[in-house]
């Protein structure tokens, strides 16, 4: 009676040995057990009969460091402000997806970088502590100087970088003056989003730079509706997260099937309550209720990758000088 068992054992070993592994580089927050990663891994593995492995860390710097020797098959979690730098490296290949029917406020045209989720940058406030939030960026600059805002450093954080692009896009030549007006209200500038948001929830700050989708977490997980996003008349900056296939992947077919999977429901339904942002291609009826009811800006500010790359250095330097006064 042992022989069939042994045979079965061999078959099992053989099948695991044959199963291919897809390596996906992703940010920590995406692949952690509290992010969308585990659900996506499970759904994709059920489909492909392969194994999906997340490698976490600073995605783009690591890929640039590894160059064409990178073990990554797919990179996930790049922001649109990084897109031009990533494209210039020549390390990424076309995604081959139909992006005409995305559920995003802008038309997407790029053929290499595929959006998988998005939200707007927004300042989050606590409605029990701030009764009348500013209705425009301009009104925020005019707030009393004892209002305390926490933002992130554009040189260390993707959200912080997106904010300086937002100000640059809104104010252009006057961006420096805008920063000078905001300066007295800035309590501190943190390295990353986590520290800033922690300071806000601990009651240190009146407003924190985050996303229009942040209140959804508090509503869904804590039943707390007091955390709200300030919606600005001039428009809130669109923040898009992207995925791309590596040109040098040794398993182009498997990588391609993952790219095909990104816009499917299996992936997209894990996004709202996993990454706490809007899915890039999922009809609104399938969104969790909290997301359908989130207030969003009528006007969206979108800066394309080429413009973003051209603006970036200047925007950071303007921020630096404006806050150094």
């Amino acid at each position: 009676m042992k022989a069939p068992l042994i045979a079965a054992g061999f078959a099992l070993v053989a099948s695991t040995a044959a199963a291919e592994t897809l390596t996906v580089y992703a940010p920590d927050y995406f692949a952690s057990e509290w992010g969308p990663g585990p659900a996506i891994k499970q759904a994709f593995e059920a489909e492909c009969g392969c194994e999906l492995e997340f490698v976490t860390g600073d995605v783009l710097p690591r890929i640039l460091l590894e160059g064409d020797r990178s073990e990554a098959d797919v990179a996930i979690g790049l922001s649109q402000d990084e897109m031009a730098r990533a494209a210039e490296s020549g390390l990424f290949a076309p995604h081959g997806q139909d992006v005409s029917a995305l559920t995003m406020p802008v038309t997407w045209e790029d053929k290499t970088f595929l959006p998988f989720d998005w939200s707007h940058l927004a300042f989050i406030y606590d409605s029990t502590r701030m009764e009348t939030p500013p209705a425009s960026f301009e009104a925020m600059l005019d707030m009393a100087d004892d209002t305390r805002i926490v933002i992130q450093d554009p040189r260390a954080s993707a959200a912080g970088l997106a904010l300086v692009m937002w100000v640059q896009a809104l104010y252009g030549e006057e961006a420096g003056a805008a920063w000078e007006r905001l300066s007295p209200k800035i309590l501190t500038v943190t390295k990353g989003w986590s520290e800033a948001y922690g300071m806000f929830t601990e009651g240190e700050a009146d407003m924190v730079l985050s996303f229009t989708t942040s209140p959804a977490y508090h509503i869904v997980a804590e039943g707390d509706e007091t955390k709200q996003a300030a919606i600005f008349e001039e428009g809130n900056y669109l923040y898009v997260e992207l995925a791309a296939k590596l040109a040098g992947t040794e398993q182009p077919e498997l990588a391609q099937s993952f790219m095909d999977f990104i816009l499917s429901d299996g992936f997209q339904t894990a996004i709202p309550e996993g990454n706490w942002s809007f899915p890039a291609k999922l009809e609104e009826a399938k969104w969790p209720e909290a997301f359908r009811n989130l207030p969003v800006p009528d006007k969206v500010l979108y800066v394309d990758a080429a413009t973003a790359e051209a603006m970036k250095a200047d925007a950071i330097e303007t921020w630096r000088q404006g806050l150094s006064q």
């Binding site: 920590d28 927050y29 692949a31 952690s32 057990e33 509290w34 992010g35 990663g37 492995e53 997340f54 490698v55 976490t56 860390g57 600073d58 783009l60 710097p61 690591r62 640039l64 460091l65 590894e66 020797r69 073990e71 730098r85 305390r148 450093d153 040189r155 260390a156 970088l161 800035i186 309590l187 501190t188 500038v189 943190t190 390295k191 990353g192 989003w193 986590s194 520290e195 948001y197 922690g198 300071m199 929830t201 601990e202 009651g203 240190e204 942040s214 977490y217 508090h218 997980a221 706490w276 330097e317 921020w319 630096r320 000088q321 806050l323 150094s324």
Partner: protein, 515 residues
């Protein structure tokens, strides 16, 4: 003087120094080697350099000046719980930055106890943000280190000297001039240098509390070069600038230092006859104030963390286990590097120089350099934990040396001669003379290395994958997933484990040592 260090010790010391050079300057060279062009350092970096310098001078000077009365009070008083106070007061230094920042904000922040009290009294509020926030945080971090280093100096003064001083009828003032001041001249420059160099490379503190571009350090400029510009050339230039600064500080401190070697004592409990009357009250007040300043943020972290502790997911406990393993490995490796270096050092010049290098090194440059050197041969996540242990052992080395070198020098001047005359060498000498005599600094070094490695985030971030996360990394993941309560629980766990490791080793080192 007796014959030099034994050949085996010298050989081991040479190997240790080579490893340190490879990890510090070698990784910088690797980054420079991969750089495509070396951009000039722009105005932003110049401003960063200026801020880095002046805040480091202020932070180091304040830490060292404040440490003197605290260390003196601890050196001449015996009271119940003195050992616990010394250990607990050492805690901030070994705290992971994120935990320390949470604690400082809880005490000095807008809704912290200090400001609540000030508001109730109608007094103006204090702010832990901006440049003063950076300095506050640096003094909070480094005062304990300064106290420990100065206290080591005090405890290294043989008890017989104080007995002699008492029999000669010397008062507190005369003892200060005759015994304590020469010791301080020997100890303070080294302590100042260590802390200055630490504040030079400070990164996360300045970024969380600094409040923006006015408080930008060179280390942040390096981070920016890596993260956003992918400018390895600029990063390596800035890395070199950091080495140059710390090197200049080392030279300066070396010029100021007057190493004192006391005649050998018997290692007994130091009993003091000076400092009665009002000095007793002064010492008491100093110790209480220092303890309040250093402990209140820890208490705040602990109180905040308790509710989240129960609902912490398993992944956090797993990560805690990994972190403890890394910390123990790092501590063992650090001692293996430091002990032969301290024993081989005759006057300590080259050891001091090699020992300064890790402080001046940028953890980002080290991590990236090791990555460049290794990723072609091994998968980074396979060596993530080993690399973290290695890098932290090297980073903790300066502190281990600071504790071990003076003690080793004392030992050579004291029991070393007897051992030489008895022809005692090798393991017998290590077991019978070296380890028992150096027990206290060894315990301190092991505890420090373990605790520092426990809180490290810099290196692991580049190498780890989802399965090799350490506790600090999990803490960030919880925060990034909006789970602030659980993150507070993880911060408490991190605090308890760091402190527990330090306490365990340090206590082991002090057992039967009469202090």
């Amino acid at each position: 003087m007796a014959a030099g260090a034994q050949p085996i010790t010298r050989w081991l010391a040479g190997a240790a120094a080579t490893l340190v050079l490879a990890v510090t300057l070698g990784t910088l060279a690797a980054v420079a080697w991969r750089a495509e062009n070396f951009a000039a350092v722009g105005p932003a970096a110049q401003d960063a350099l200026w801020f880095t310098l002046w805040q480091a001078v202020v932070s180091a000077s304040l830490s060292v000046i404040l440490a003197v009365p605290v260390a003196r009070a601890l050196a001449r008083r015996r009271f119940f719980g003195r050992g616990a106070v010394i250990t607990l007061m050492g805690a901030p230094f070994i705290l992971p930055t994120i935990v320390a920042v949470l604690g400082l904000v809880a005490v000095f922040g807008r809704s912290g106890v200090v400001n609540v009290a000030l508001r109730a009294l109608g007094l103006p509020e204090v702010s832990p943000y901006g440049a003063q926030g950076v300095i506050l945080a640096h003094v909070f971090f480094n005062l304990p280190l300064a106290v420990r280093l100065v206290l080591q100096g005090w405890l290294a003064i043989p008890a017989e000297r104080f007995r002699l001083a008492a029999s000669l009828g010397m008062g507190a003032g005369a003892i200060q001039r005759g015994i304590e001041w020469p010791m301080l001249r020997g100890v303070l420059p080294g302590a100042w240098l260590l802390i200055f160099a630490l504040c030079l490379t400070s990164f996360a503190v300045a970024l969380a509390l600094g409040g923006g571009p006015r408080a930008t350090t060179v280390e942040l400029a390096i981070y920016q070069a890596f993260r956003f510009d992918y400018a390895l050339g600029a990063a390596s230039v800035l890395g070199l600038v950091q080495f140059a600064l710390a090197g200049a500080a080392a030279a300066l401190a070396w010029g100021l230092a007057r190493p004192t070697v006391f005649a050998g004592g018997l290692g007994g409990v130091v009993r003091r006859w000076d400092g009665g009357g009002w000095l007793r009250w002064q010492d008491g007040l100093v110790v209480v104030l220092a303890a309040l300043f250093l402990l209140a943020p820890l208490v705040a972290v602990a109180l905040r963390g308790v509710p989240g502790l129960a609902e912490m997911p398993w992944a956090v406990w797993h990560a805690a286990g990994r972190s403890v393993a890394v910390a123990l490995g790092s501590a063992a490796l650090c001692l293996a590097l430091a002990l032969p270096m301290a024993l081989a050092a005759r006057r300590g010049l080259w050891v001091q120089l090699v020992g300064v290098l890790p402080i001046a090194a940028s953890p980002l440059v080290i991590g990236t350099g090791l990555f460049i050197l290794s990723y072609r041969w091994v998968r980074p996540d396979e060596i993530a934990l080993v690399v973290t242990a290695l890098v932290n052992a090297v980073l903790a080395l300066p502190f281990a040396l600071a504790a071990l070198v003076p003690a080793a020098r004392e030992m050579r001047a004291g029991s070393g001669r007897l051992a030489d005359s008895l022809g005692m060498t090798g393991l017998a000498r290590l077991r019978l003379v070296t380890l028992p005599t150096l027990r206290r600094p060894i315990g301190f070094a092991l505890g420090l290395a373990a605790a520092l490695s426990m809180g490290d985030l810099g290196v692991i971030a580049l190498f780890a994958d989802g399965d090799t996360a350490t506790l600090p990394l999990q803490l960030y993941r919880l925060m990034a997933a909006y789970r602030i309560d659980q993150a507070a629980g993880a911060a408490l766990l991190l605090l308890v484990l760091s402190l527990g490791l330090f306490w365990g080793f340090d206590r082991g080192g002090r057992a039967n040592a009469g202090a």
